[in-house]
Each structure stands twice: as structure tokens, then as C-alpha cells.
């Protein structure tokens, strides 16, 4: 290995590692996050000569495969409740996001109810900050296929309707002072 390679890899570790961890955190229990991140970067190091630059899409795609190979993760992701727990542990807290806890819960429940491939498509862009093309790379699918999945996810959540709002019903129990 050459010193420039080590330096560049170290920069990628520091720059992209937390982003990969954020992705992993919504798929596996917190105890397994570090293991998956480390395994992902170990694979990256073994193939560093051919890993595309910037590497983030490749890294997330590899992390996805690492997770997919984890029997524990697969088992945990089966149940809707478990998906919700994982998403809840990964998502920003309601106070940090500037919303009510019930708004947050409603959004997470809606995300959890999506088919896995649709939720993945939506969040790779909305949460992981990938471009649609990068997200398609991470998923190993064509950009056109990705756009279809993302569109269906957005439609299922009503995101394509610009007048759509989070159901007020979900927030009202916490408004204490009644409705305006």
C-alpha cells in the first residue's frame, strides 16, 4: 500500500464513515453499527484501487450488502414494529427537527409501512444525501428504475400532492390548549 492511498482512505473514513454509519443505523441494531461500518470499509480498502471517487455511493451500496448478509439484521427488519424502532433510533429527534413528537411518529410510521425498496429509494436521497444517480448506484439498479421506485414511494406518502399536510389528527392530542 502506498502512503497516498492510506491518506486518501483515511480522509474517506473520516468524511464518509459517519454518513455510512447513519445509513447503517436505520437497518441494524445499534450494537451492530460499528461492525457493519468497519466491514464496509475493510472491503473498500481491499478494492481501493477500483472504488469509484467520490466513494460514498459505493460505500453505502457495500454497507447495504453487508447488512443483507447479516442474518440478524434480516430477521429484525421483517417486522413493521422493528422497522419503526430502527427508523426511530436513526431519525433526528423531534425537538431537533422542530416538530411535535406525534408528527415525527406519524412520519416514521408512514415510512415504516412502505415497501422496503420504496423506503430505501426515498431515504437514500432524503436522509443520506445521495443524488438519484448515486442512489441508483448504491442499490445496483438503473437510474430509471430508481426514479420509478422513488416516485412510487412519494406517491404512497402523498408527497407528490403539494397541498398535502401531515394529518392534524396526529398532532392534536399534544396541543393541550385546544384547537384554534
Amino acid at each position: 500500500m502506498s502512503t497516498p492511498d492510506v491518506e486518501e482512505f483515511g480522509e474517506a473514513w473520516n468524511r464518509d464513515g459517519p454518513r455510512v454509519a447513519a445509513y447503517v443505523r436505520r437497518h441494524v441494531p445499534s450494537d451492530d453499527v460499528q461492525d457493519v461500518v468497519a466491514e464496509t470499509f475493510l472491503q473498500a480498502w481491499r478494492r481501493w484501487d477500483v472504488v469509484p471517487r467520490p466513494p460514498i455511493a459505493w460505500l453505502i451500496g457495500t454497507a447495504r450488502k453487508v447488512i443483507g448478509n447479516s442474518r440478524r439484521a434480516v430477521r429484525r427488519r421483517r417486522a413493521l414494529h422493528d422497522r419503526l424502532v430502527l427508523l426511530g433510533s436513526a431519525a433526528r429527534a423531534s425537538e431537533d427537527a422542530g416538530m411535535l413528537a406525534t408528527e415525527r411518529l406519524a412520519a416514521l410510521e408512514a415510512l415504516s409501512a412502505l415497501p422496503d425498496h420504496q423506503r430505501e429509494a426515498l431515504l437514500l436521497v432524503a436522509w443520506d444525501g445521495l443524488t438519484p444517480d448515486e442512489a441508483a448506484t448504491a442499490l445496483g439498479i438503473r437510474p430509471g428504475t430508481f426514479r420509478v421506485r422513488a416516485h412510487r414511494a412519494r406517491s404512497a406518502l402523498g408527497l407528490d400532492n403539494t397541498s398535502g399536510r401531515v394529518a392534524a389528527v396526529a398532532t392534536r392530542p399534544l396541543t393541550r390548549g385546544g384547537f384554534e
Binding site: G10, A22, V36, E39, W48, W127
Partner: protein
């Protein structure tokens, strides 16, 4: 707040790594070898050794096998130790190599030997689908080395190879699932292997304390629990081995 903005606002902020874990893990990763076309990755993974003091070498010439497999392995390791600037330097007297395990996989015969030395060194040799199991392997059918650093798993710093029981583990690749290793318990006569779809007992060799087998039934297993048992049926200890991914 729209649904769209709510979902966007819930995007988790990247959390910086724990600096101690980060440094240890990064160091462990970059101290390992990278895949090179001239050397099969499978071999390195199965030895789970990333050599930093010297390089695991493959012979470029075909040697004529003379003597039994153990004799060939000892000669190969001795030659390796006599080459300048290798991790085989300073071994002192090399003990006779012990066959840890030999079994057939989907790729052919898998065989693994380990040899200690008078200076406390640990050397190993492996044939992974290149030797047909008959007669003795030739030098170019072996992958071998001494000492070095062991990749101890994600999130763990590398370990120096100082004991034979550090070698081996559970592996899944194009040769199919397999497990092998050296018992850390001298009194062990068998090891009970359990995991998803796996529940069987393997004998522990009384001389090398080695064990191993192909585990075609372990296709769905990501990890195995190994329980070492003595002749009276007492449990001596348990270890867990996670298959490397990729």
C-alpha cells in the same frame, strides 16, 4: 410543515465516530492486505492474517514433492524463514508442522498446517483447492507465512499472531461454508458446532488440537458457536466465529 419537509427534517445528522474506536479500526483496516490479482483473497481471509512484518509468499517455481505432506510443509516454511527480511526470520528451530484439518470443499481439498518454533513463532501453511489430497502438496500449491498481525474482526484492533488457536474461523465464499481452527483447550476431544442450520460435532485432533469441516448446511448462518468438550463431556469453553462478508 409539509410531509416532505417533515421527512427531510428527520434526516439524521452524521455523528462523528468515537475517536478511540475510529483510530483503532482505521489502523486495523489499512494494516491488512488488499486484494491483488496474483494472490487469491480467499487464502488470506482464511488464514485471517494480515502480515505487516513480512509477506506471505507463493512460490514461483514448482518444487518436486519429497516426503510426506508434513515434510514438504516444514521444508517450505524453513526455506521461507531463511529468506532475508521475511516474517519467518528468527524462528529458531521449527517444530514439525501439525495438520490442523483436511477436508473436501466445493473447490477441492482444503488443508491447513500449523508449526510453532523454539522462539515462540507461529507459522502456517494452507492448500485451498490446489492440491488433490494425494501424496504431498508441492510448494506452489501452498500458501504460507509466519507471525504477523491477525485481522481480529470489525471494530477490533489487529492482534499479533502468537498462538495457533488464533488461526482459523468460519468462512463463507465460493468454496462453500467451512470452519476450521485449533482448540485453545488442550483437553478438548470434540467441538460442538452450532449456528443457523448447523448442529454437529467435530473431532479435535489429539496432536494438533485442530478441527475442521466443510459445512454446506451453514449457507444461512452468519456466525457459529463453537463449544469445546473434554473426554468426560465437560464443556471447556465456547467461542463465537462470525463469517467475514464479501
Amino acid at each position: 410543515m409539509t410531509k416532505d419537509s417533515i421527512i427531510t427534517a428527520l434526516a439524521p445528522p452524521p455523528e462523528p465516530f468515537d475517536p478511540v474506536w475510529s483510530q483503532a479500526t482505521l489502523t486495523g483496516i489499512v494494516s491488512g492486505n488488499r486484494t491483488q490479482s496474483s494472490r487469491p483473497a480467499r487464502g488470506r481471509r482464511r488464514t485471517a492474517v494480515a502480515l505487516v512484518a513480512g509477506f506471505l509468499t507463493l512460490s514461483t517455481a514448482t518444487a518436486v514433492a519429497v516426503g510426506g505432506p508434513g515434510d514438504v510443509v516444514k521444508r517450505v516454511l524453513t526455506d521461507f524463514g531463511e529468506q532475508p527480511n521475511t516474517s519467518g526470520n528468527g524462528l529458531g528451530r521449527l517444530d514439525d508442522p501439525q495438520l490442523v484439518a483436511q477436508f473436501r470443499t466445493e473447490k477441492g481439498v482444503f488443508a491447513f498446517w500449523v508449526a510453532t518454533s523454539s522462539s515462540g513463532g507461529v507459522c502456517f501453511a494452507m492448500s485451498d483447492g490446489t492440491w488433490n489430497g494425494e501424496g504431498s502438496p508441492t510448494k506452489d500449491q501452498l500458501t504460507y507465512g509466519c507471525g504477523g498481525q491477525i485481522y481480529a474482526g470489525p471494530g477490533r484492533p489487529p492482534e499479533e499472531l502468537t498462538r495457533p488457536d488464533q488461526l482459523g474461523g468460519f468462512f463463507k465464499d465460493d468454496a462453500g461454508p467451512l470452519v476450521y481452527g485449533v482448540s485453545a483447550y488442550g483437553d478438548a476431544v470434540s467441538v460442538h458446532v452450532q449456528g443457523m442450520g448447523v448442529d454437529r460435532t467435530l473431532p479435535v485432533d489429539p496432536d494438533s488440537h485442530g478441527y475442521g469441516a466443510a459445512l454446506p448446511e451453514a449457507a444461512q448462518a452468519s456466525a457459529l458457536t463453537l463449544t469445546f468438550v473434554d473426554a468426560d463431556g465437560r464443556v471447556l469453553g465456547t467461542t463465537r466465529s462470525v463469517a467475514p462478508v464479501g
